[in-house]
């Protein structure tokens, strides 16, 4: 058994898929692991893979050629999953990619690939991707921006999965003329947007702590208005805190304004 160990990024995973094809071992005997390993297997050949942007790009291009965009999006979003169900997700993605490439070689359509939910790899990718997209859907709504003194909108999030890129995509289109920052606090990654520029992703942004806590004059007024709206919209005779908590899970509460 050959186990490829790669960096925990999509590029790293694609590089090791490229490496696996280069090495020409039978794919059934291969495994790709991108998370740090804490328990080594006996009788396995560990192969560390260095991330190579060019190789990764080639795998990426190949996938874009042979897959329709939904399937491609599902594969990539599944990789962002960091919950426990994503255990060895890179391996599932690797084996699914191998299957796609085989299907493309034999000129079978990959259109129905993701429907084969009886396959454990595909079922895992499907689950992880769904989990990531569900959380993204939540955060499309539950992210709250606060206006800083310099007019920049600033949002903190604490998501379970590493989905800041998905959020960035969404808010770029929504607020094209605003300057805004989305900050994933536990991962220390920030997405920055400025009007008429393409957005950037910053690792370890090291913000000025004081600057990101100084809110503009309007901020307090509108957040008070929002809280009062939120409270008056409730129908008292239908109060159902259990349902509320089911719909907006507690872990999102601290980042909203109205529920903290």
């Amino acid at each position: 058994m050959n186990i490829y160990i790669c960096e925990n990024t999509l590029d790293g995973l694609f590089s090791s898929i490229f490496q696996a094809y280069e090495d020409r071992h039978p794919h059934e005997d291969n495994k790709v692991i991108s998370t740090p390993i804490n328990n080594y297997e006996l009788f396995a050949n560990y192969i560390p893979v260095l991330t190579n942007a060019e190789y990764a790009q080639r795998v990426n291009r190949k996938l874009l050629n042979i897959l329709d965009c939904t399937t491609y999006y599902q594969l990539c979003s599944a990789f962002l999953c960091e919950s426990t169900i994503a255990f060895e997700i890179s391996n599932s993605i690797y084996h699914t990619v191998v299957r796609c490439i085989d299907m493309a070689k034999s000129k079978t359509s990959t259109k129905n690939l993701m429907k084969d939910l009886t396959n454990p790899y595909i079922s895992q990718i499907f689950k992880c991707s769904k989990r990531v997209m569900r959380e993204a859907d939540h955060l499309y709504g539950f992210t709250r921006f606060k206006e800083l003194q310099n007019g920049i909108l600033f949002a903190r999030i604490h998501p379970e999965n590493n989905l800041i890129t998905i959020l960035m995509d969404h808010f770029d289109n929504r607020f094209p003329l605003e300057s805004f920052i989305i900050y994933d606090e536990p991962r220390d990654i920030a997405a920055l947007h400025h009007p008429h520029c393409s957005s950037i992703l910053l690792k370890h942004p090291s913000f000025d702590d004081e600057a990101i806590c100084k809110y503009s004059e309007d901020e307090n007024r509108f957040s008070q208005l929002w809280i009062s709206f939120f409270n008056s919209i409730t129908i008292e005779s239908r109060t159902n805190p259990h349902l509320q908590q089911q719909m907006i899970p507690k872990r999102f509460w601290k980042d909203t304004i109205e529920l903290t």
Binding site: D116, L117, F142, R174, S232, T234, R238, Q246
Partner: protein, 436 residues
């Protein structure tokens, strides 16, 4: 009447959102629009919920009345003419500023603008039009707008508003003509249904125009919806569901909403809802509504003149299945999509997944579970590769007993004294006391 002029925005928002909260529709779905790069906002066809209030309802839009002054006197409405409450109105600029500022902080998905009727339906509708015009054209707002059409307003002003909004709705309020004239003397079926028909025709003719000219403005692209009050009159579930079915078929509505009646006015013509609003009944109606729209059921299959109300213990789909055991068991690896949809425990998504997956390989109970089938309900009604999950009897009593042991019984049944569960029970439990 106590009319407040020059009140501060906080107070106004408090009053006018409180007055709007009994409108249940708060969805932002049905239209996808990307931002063109010059304004604020976009729309997602699935809709986005921004928060959930303490009653568990989704808050997606800034739901407000333009004014709570009203010349109508509908007995169920908190804003009716006879009520002695504080009255106030927004100005178009205030609505715009609230919407824009809330939207850019990502509090809301758009605006839901309704209104009491000030001076005349046309006058009110014109105020709404001015507000939307400011918001769309001057502030370049590209998010979602849901607006109420005022019954009795002129067709041309409704049309102008339609081109600025995403969804329009006119509340049917009550399912029958008789109950409408009893409780809402200023409204009648004609003033409600004719704008509804106008919007429907507008949408379809606009679609034809769009095919010819792409840059044409869209008219009510997210379709129209309506709302009925449940439990204010003696109309039964069968009547209500039949009306919904007709609305979906004849008026192409996107949604019909049901709102459990809350007696806010203590009006003697209305029932006291001593045990709280009839939430279970509302829930059952929504379940049945889903069956109409996505599961190809018809109202006549679910209910009939002899059984006009829903079963309180079982959801409408289970209830139907139990009464039609001759269709079961269904073999999941061969049954067609529509048959799969009628199995309790299999929904639209899992039926689609089953149809997709069985082309690729053999199904098993564990893979069905992974696809999202609720096996503890479905197992009585299906076979997979000719086998049941474990031996069960295809018998009404046996299945009901097992289903009920798994489903937590509705809280409405908690206070009932013990008696043999009868399957075809109806909603007599919330028999309303009518004050006289």
């Amino acid at each position: 009447m106590n009319i407040m002029k020059n009140t501060d925005l906080m107070k106004k928002l408090d009053i006018l959102s409180d007055a709007a909260k009994y409108d249940v529709a708060c969805t932002s779905s049905g239209v996808t629009r990307r931002n063109d790069g010059t304004g604020l906002g976009n729309c997602h066809s699935s809709g986005i919920c921004h928060t959930f209030s303490a009653d568990g309802r989704c808050v997606s839009l800034l739901k407000i009345l333009f004014t709570n002054e009203c010349i109508f006197n509908c007995s169920y409405c908190i804003n009716r003419r006879d009520n002695d409450i504080v009255r106030t109105s927004f100005t178009p600029d205030e609505v715009c500023s609230l919407t824009m500022q809330f939207y850019r902080r990502n509090y809301i998905e758009g605006l839901f603008l309704s209104s009491g009727i000030l001076i005349s339906p046309n006058y009110t509708m014109d105020l709404i039009y001015q507000t939307l015009y400011k918001l769309r054209k001057e502030n370049n707002f590209q998010g979602y707008i849901h607006v109420k059409a005022i019954p009795g307003a002129d067709p041309d002003i409704i049309e102008k508003v339609g081109f600025l909004s995403d969804r329009m709705s006119i509340n049917l309020e009550l399912p029958t003509r008789k109950s409408l004239s009893a409780l809402a003397p200023n409204k009648n079926r004609r003033t409600i249904l004719s704008p509804m028909r106008q919007i429907q025709n507008g949408i379809s003719s606009n679609k034809n125009e769009l095919m010819v000219r792409r840059e044409h403005h869209k008219f009510v692209p997210a379709g129209q919806s309506t709302q009925m009050i449940i439990g204010a009159t003696n109309d039964n579930d069968y009547q209500i569901l039949s009306v919904s079915e007709k609305l979906y078929q004849n008026f192409n509505l996107k949604r019909v909403f049901y709102s459990a009646f809350v007696n806010v006015n203590m009006d003697s013509r209305l029932p006291m809802t001593s045990g709280g609003p009839p939430l279970l009944r509302e829930h059952r109606l929504y379940q049945a509504d889903w069956l109409l729209r996505f599961y190809h059921f018809s109202a006549d299959e679910l209910l009939s003149e002899d059984r006009p109300n829903f079963n309180i213990f079982l959801d409408p789909k289970c209830d139907w299945a139990i009464r039609h055991l001759e269709y079961y068991p269904v073999e999941v690896s061969t049954a067609d999509y529509n048959t799969l949809l009628r199995v309790p425990g299999i929904g639209v998504n899992s039926a689609r997944r089953i149809v997709g997956a069985r082309k690729q390989g053999r199904l098993s109970y564990s893979s069905l579970k992974k696809m999202g089938v609720v096996l503890k309900r479905a197992l009585f009604f299906i076979t997979c590769n000719g086998r049941q999950m474990y031996p069960t009897k295809l018998e009404e009593d046996y299945i009901v007993r097992n289903l009920l042991s798994d489903i937590p019984s509705p809280k409405e049944t908690k206070n009932m004294s013990y008696r043999q569960l009868s399957l075809f029970d109806d909603f007599n439990i919330d028999k309303v006391q009518v004050l006289n």
